[in-house]
């Protein structure tokens, strides 16, 4: 512990660390992340002086000094590979997101009474709990996050509000921002006879 500065009675101000906007690492660690090229661009745009510090010729040379050439080459190769992999992954995720559907189901509970189940929102990075609360407030009814038969989370809203929810998704109201409205499907489910509750 000899290397830390002696603590005085005055408050020590926190160190401000700049985190990369792309990979969230402290900027000096971007080179080990999987988006190096993007990180570099980001830093170049937002903090040109720091960019000079980390990616100028001298800085690169200083790095080489501590590592054998072969190891450095290998590292670079690995980074490139990782980057390609991450990109492919992001693309696949995006594709999946575009393909995933939101199902709005109107379930008949008791003849003229309905509940509406919204399923598939989580694929679009929507906070289900918050959305349920939002629905409850908008419609002045109960809304909750429950697990359905497949063990997946869905939002159940009391009352028939399927039409309104579709509209809200189209408008991107509240937490429902950025959901493509083409992916929304409406279905109706009739209760089988003999169901109790």
């Amino acid at each position: 512990m000899a290397d830390t500065e002696p603590t005085s009675s005055a408050q020590i101000q926190p160190v401000e660390v700049l985190y990369c906007g792309v990979c969230t690492f402290p900027v000096e660690y971007c080179e080990f992340g999987s988006h190096l090229t993007k990180c570099k661009e980001w830093l170049h745009e937002t903090h040109p002086d720091l960019y000079e510090k980390y990616y100028s010729e001298e800085a690169l040379h200083a790095k080489l000094g501590t590592l054998s050439l072969e190891a450095q080459e290998k590292l670079e190769k690995d980074t490139a590979k990782k980057e390609a992999k991450a990109e492919a992954k992001a693309e696949a995720a995006q594709k999946k997101k575009m393909a995933s559907q939101i199902t709005i189901k109107r379930i008949e509970r008791n003849k003229r009474k309905f509940v509406t189940a919204v399923h598939g929102l989580e694929a679009f990075d929507v906070d289900l709990k918050k959305t349920a609360k939002f629905f409850a407030q908008k419609f002045a009814t109960g809304a909750s996050v429950t697990k359905n038969a497949q063990g997946l989370d869905e939002i159940v809203v009391q009352g028939d509000v399927s039409g309104d929810i579709v509209e809200m998704i189209e408008d991107g109201a509240g937490p429902l921002k950025g959901i493509p409205s083409d992916n929304v499907v409406e279905v109706e489910e009739k209760k089988k006879k003999g169901g109790g509750d």
Binding site: T4, T7, T24, F25, A62
Partner: protein, 184 residues
Amino acid sequence: MFKKFSPSSDVSGQTSLKSSVQRSIRSGILSQWKVDPETFEQIWPKKESLTLVKCREHISVYTLHGEPLFFQHFDGPFYPTLRLLHKYPFVLPKVGVDRGAIRFLLAGAHMMCPGMTSKGGYLPPADAALPAGTPVAIQAEGKEHAVGIGLTKLGTEEMKKVNKGVGVETVTYIGDDFWALKTL
């Protein structure tokens, strides 16, 4: 510890803490970390109350306004979160690893002795030796900020002597799931 961590399945509950428990946490941290009460006041103001987030495998994360501040395994030592450590780098003793090890550390590997005894690494000198089981900040060669937080498995003097096998067990590192989690 946090290589895989998802709040939806790994968190078992959140509770706000009793003030007596908070008092004992505060005194525990002040005795374990190298931080004076005035500075710690900034990190965790006296008036604010912590929330305990219980996670799998007896990990407790303590959050302030949803932001994780420190965590603990069983009744073990308190670790600051990496973001907190970046702000107050002096709270934990440091060890350093050479450049070659960073890559593995960022993949979640434990830190081996040779990485710290080599030229690029750093271990505290003999008069400030750390015993086994001390939380440490893992610094990286040529970098300013800590790259991870670990727990020493051997004393630092022992590491120099043995120079083989795991020296520091990695607890959390930049880019793991706990890092990705900004609020709980």
